[in-house]
Assembly symmetry: C2
Homo-oligomer: 345 residues x 2
């Protein structure tokens, strides 16, 4: 970071004039351990799973959409495909717990641990072993990508009902009231929102998750894809690969990951500020300032894919710009009032 900072100050621009891109480049140097890091090999890891709590009428879309959207992503037609193509990133899709049997497809990583979670409003969504297994699968997917040269990873999710699980996790860990951390997800109406809050309240009442036990919280009111993203984040951080955290679901996974391992926080880059109210609370808690604010509420890793452009830009500026010496440009004059004789004075 010190080397990157020194180089930053020799580049042909007023010191600090590239604002947050300068800080970002210096952080990227710290994460990777390289003074001039670059990120040619990028992946968005999209983990898919279903949620038993949809029985409570918490989502605007039917559960079948999770499997349908996995198909859409595999076919290249989803928002994340478009944005990842634009950012030069590959999309890695894994089934960690979709309720439907998905067709055999070589492009899909088949790691189904269960057919959706159990309904957390009636009991624990996952067992502790299931949650741990999902974390392990997430970490393994990153390992596989590292073998393919990965140097920048983004988190993505697909799962009808997963904003309900995420709100429950955030409420449990941060001891916030469910109504405060619950948004409209894919767009439930007022009655749906009330059902969603009620389901979270029941889930917390029945399961009594302990805020000091993040794994327990993840199992009791979480989901397969959220736990998998915890694994993606921890493995990425451990490998010194910058982890771009997408929106609310990914942010919830980041919250759990940093509860498990506080040092992981420094390897995270917050992509954007989602419309979901709980996401802003997570970002404040993690003291991460998002790069973008585009009122997104889609998930899939869409915000993270767009943030890749800014990460590439920050790294390219640090790496490619000419220094004052190389370009023969005069540095800042340390002027004093006395040096200037105003023609009017």
């Amino acid at each position: 970071m010190e080397g990157a900072r020194q180089r930053q100050d020799q580049l042909t621009k007023p010191r600090g004039s590239l604002g947050r891109l300068e800080e970002l480049a210096i952080r990227l140097a710290g994460i990777t351990g390289h003074v001039r890091p670059r990120f040619p090999s990028k992946a968005v890891i999209v983990l898919a799973a279903d949620h038993g709590v949809v029985e409570e009428g918490v989502s605007a879309y039917p559960q079948a959409v999770t499997a349908q959207m996995v198909g859409n992503i595999l076919a290249g037609g989803a928002a994340i495909n478009v944005l990842a193509r634009g950012a030069g990133a590959r999309v890695v899709v894994a089934d960690l717990g979709v309720a439907a049997l998905l067709p055999d497809d070589a492009r899909l990583i088949q790691k189904k641990i269960g057919h959706g979670t159990r309904n957390m409003a009636r009991g624990p969504a996952l067992s502790a072993n299931e949650a741990l297994e999902a974390i392990r699968v997430g970490a393994e997917i990153v390992e596989g990508e590292v073998d393919r040269g990965l140097d920048l990873v983004a988190t993505g999710d697909m799962g009808i009902g997963n904003t309900t699980a995420s709100s429950a996790i955030v409420a449990a860990i941060a001891s916030w009231a469910p109504a405060e951390v619950t948004g409209r997800g894919t767009g439930v109406d007022e009655a749906g929102w009330r059902r969603k809050v009620a389901a979270i309240e029941r889930a917390l009442e029945i399961n009594r998750p302990d805020p000091r036990d993040p794994l327990g919280v993840l199992a009791k009111v979480g989901g397969y894809e959220i736990a998998g993203l915890v694994g993606v984040i921890l493995e990425g951080a451990a490998r010194r690969i910058p982890v771009i955290v997408d929106g609310f679901i990914s942010g919830t996974a980041a919250l759990v990951a940093t509860e498990l391992c506080p040092a992981a926080r420094d390897y995270l880059i917050a992509a954007h500020s989602s419309v979901e109210v709980g996401h802003r609370m997570i970002l404040e808690q993690l003291e991460l300032v998002p790069l973008l604010n585009l009122d997104l509420r889609l998930g899939e890793g869409t915000g993270a894919a767009m943030a890749m452009h800014l990460i590439d830009a920050a790294a390219a500026l640090l790496d490619e710009m000419a220094t004052f010496a190389e370009a023969g440009v005069s540095q800042r004059a340390e002027t004093t009032v006395a040096e200037f004789k105003s023609p009017l004075s």
Copy 2:
């Protein structure tokens, strides 16, 4: 715009979930007149010129830096080169009024109208004819690029002293106090900032620009590159090419352009929110919400080049995403409370 909106609502995502990117894509359709616009041919137009007001000690850098930085941009070592390369845009550099004689270079558009402006603290910076000539040159540069297939244009500037001229223009047009619209530019210290405000106050006192005469304001307290950017903006808008407005200098040109022709406003996309206080006031005045907020204060078109990624993303999403029908994905269920029988009730 109506066609783009209809398509937007058929794409495989919850309606509105791509937030500002959806609105942006619809605006791009309106600007270009195409339901699915794309932008393969992009240019950042960087206009360079000097400012006589630097005699007053208003800048942290010596005037020679303008010419040196033009050389740096031509050699490909400046921030704008790095960012334009990343965005797939060409950099078009023109000398409209640099105080030094620049070496012959086929890559430089030589359109010098004068050797820097006159010191606006002592009299008019430009004559009305010089300002008009600069506008004409800016428009001609866009015409030339249109002949090369241009379909997305960004504004950029290079000129030591040009935040002083921009603050004077904004103060004159919007009747704001100079101290309110004056920032630190490339980074003057407190004494430098006071000299800068004093120079603007003297310029307004001596030249008495009329806020109802934007051309007069542009001549009296403006600059060659700022006037040139007015031409770039007006010609871009007239050709139905989206114009990405960079930071404070470009924003000042946009303010003048929309005073001359209010309809031009709808063709402008605000790239980012600069650190310069006057820039935020311009954006409010123009009712433009910037895409990025990265605390930049560099100019050159750097923020605009980065905004190109978001514009490409918005257009690609509208163009490339699958529709619900194409992907076989279920649409939103219009659920009612009655449809859901909670297993707990």
